[in-house]
């Protein structure tokens, strides 16, 4: 049977691709069984100026794998003088996950990669969904974990390909409201990152919610 502990599903990551940006969100709780060990854990890793990787899954595997990917993406940039494109980065991540899948030490990690290729103009925003078995999909929106079951239908209903940043934030608001109402696990805080051709911006979601 395929390995992935059920605790991995408690983490929540979410992503939506807009006209020329990607909005990513993840919860901030690090849990071990019934205990919340830390409630300000950042599950997103900025791979380079225009790409963010959100990871969930087995504790430890997530950090080890994400840091490994981050260092290698940086190394490519150092060696070659130009950054990896989002498509190349996504396929690199898939290749590494696939390589380790049939080893003695597979990584049990689900990823969402959001990136913008500044050279590509409005066609440059990409969101990739990678699951722990190393399958890769480019998608307009995605989520991992139990939260996905609550949010994908809302995204199906309200998503449009030419979303503005404010529209995307509104979508996030709707999705998180649904989780708050219907998901048994209370997720109080979220990290939210906006990736555009100008770079990665951290959005203070508490401030957004208060506004």
């Amino acid at each position: 049977d395929l390995p992935l502990r059920s605790t991995a599903k408690m983490d929540f990551t979410w992503g939506v691709k807009g006209k020329d940006f990607v909005l990513l969100a993840s919860d901030k709780q690090a849990t071990h069984s019934i205990i919340v060990v830390k409630s300000d854990q950042d599950k997103m890793y900025q791979l380079n100026d225009h790409q963010v990787l959100a990871v969930t899954g087995e504790a430890g595997d997530t950090v080890q794998f994400a840091e490994y990917i981050h260092k290698n993406v940086q190394l490519y940039q150092i060696r070659n003088g130009i950054p990896l494109s989002p498509n190349a980065a996504a396929n690199f991540i898939r290749g590494e996950l696939a390589r380790y899948l049939r080893s003695r030490t597979p990584y049990s990690v689900n990823c969402l990669l959001g990136g913008v290729d500044p050279q590509d103009g409005s066609a440059g925003a990409h969101l990739y969904y990678l699951d722990y078995l190393a399958s890769l999909n480019e998608v307009p929106f995605a989520a991992h974990g139990y939260g996905a079951h609550f949010n994908l239908s809302i995204l199906d209903r309200y998503y449009k390909p030419d979303l503005s940043v404010d529209d995307a934030k509104e979508l996030l608001r709707k999705c998180l409201a649904e989780l708050r109402k219907r998901f048994i696990i209370h997720l109080p805080t979220f990290s939210v990152r906006l990736v555009t051709k100008d770079g990665v911006q951290t959005i203070d979601w508490n401030a957004e919610m208060a506004a």
Partner: protein
């Protein structure tokens, strides 16, 4: 929970008169949850050769990438396109190499050989080849596909009729499978060209 039915797929290939067709569904899902509706399961391996891969999605992607590499090397060394029957043996060997830790995917091959003769075949996940001559199927709804193909297939169909036949076989089979569906892609390969059509099916 079976590994081969973790993601879900429906692939079918049929032979006609001087043409072949290969079709697949477009769903990528994780058990009951659908993640994307444009997942590629059929890959071109030459101007008149295509392979469809059913099974675990990660292995569909890994095997298609490995096949692309082998095909590129073949082209560089041989300076010609590969024959479909040779390609079948290549896949069979690739899969059997992993006999005791296999790739969880079942390929379906459709192509036209250098003499213009249609060729279709499939293998199981460890590479046992099968070349029936009329149609081959793979995926979570293979039994439904066998039924539809057996009912609708007649030999020596032209490209247009073959398209209709393979489309109806696929659509009606995948509608009876929860894990396959969300649209379909049909490629009809003749000596001169490949016509690709995307079908809108029941989107559930």
């Amino acid at each position: 929970m079976s590994i081969m039915s973790y993601n879900g797929a429906a692939i079918v290939a049929m032979a006609g008169k001087d043409c072949v067709a290969i079709a697949s569904d477009r769903r990528f899902g994780v058990q009951a949850q659908t993640v994307s509706m444009d997942f590629q399961k059929i890959f071109p391996m030459g101007e008149r050769l295509m392979v469809g891969l059913a099974g675990l999605a990660t292995d569909v992607q890994t095997v298609s990438e490995r096949l692309r590499f082998k095909m590129n090397m073949y082209k560089l060394r041989e300076e010609r396109d590969i024959e479909p029957v040779t390609f079948m043996h290549m896949i069979s060997n690739l899969l059997y190499e992993k006999r005791f830790g296999p790739y969880f995917c079942e390929p379906v091959i459709a192509g036209i050989d250098k003499h213009g003769k249609p060729f279709i075949s499939s293998t199981d996940l460890i590479g046992c080849p099968m070349t029936p001559g009329n149609f081959v199927v793979a995926g979570t709804c293979s039994e439904q596909l066998y039924g539809m193909c057996e009912a609708l297939y007649v030999p020596d169909l032209g490209p247009e009729d073959l398209f209709e036949t393979i489309s109806q076989s696929l659509l009606n089979a995948q509608d009876r499978d929860a894990l396959a569906g969300w649209g379909a892609v049909v490629h009809v390969i003749t000596k001169d060209q490949v016509i690709t059509r995307t079908l809108k099916s029941r989107m559930d």
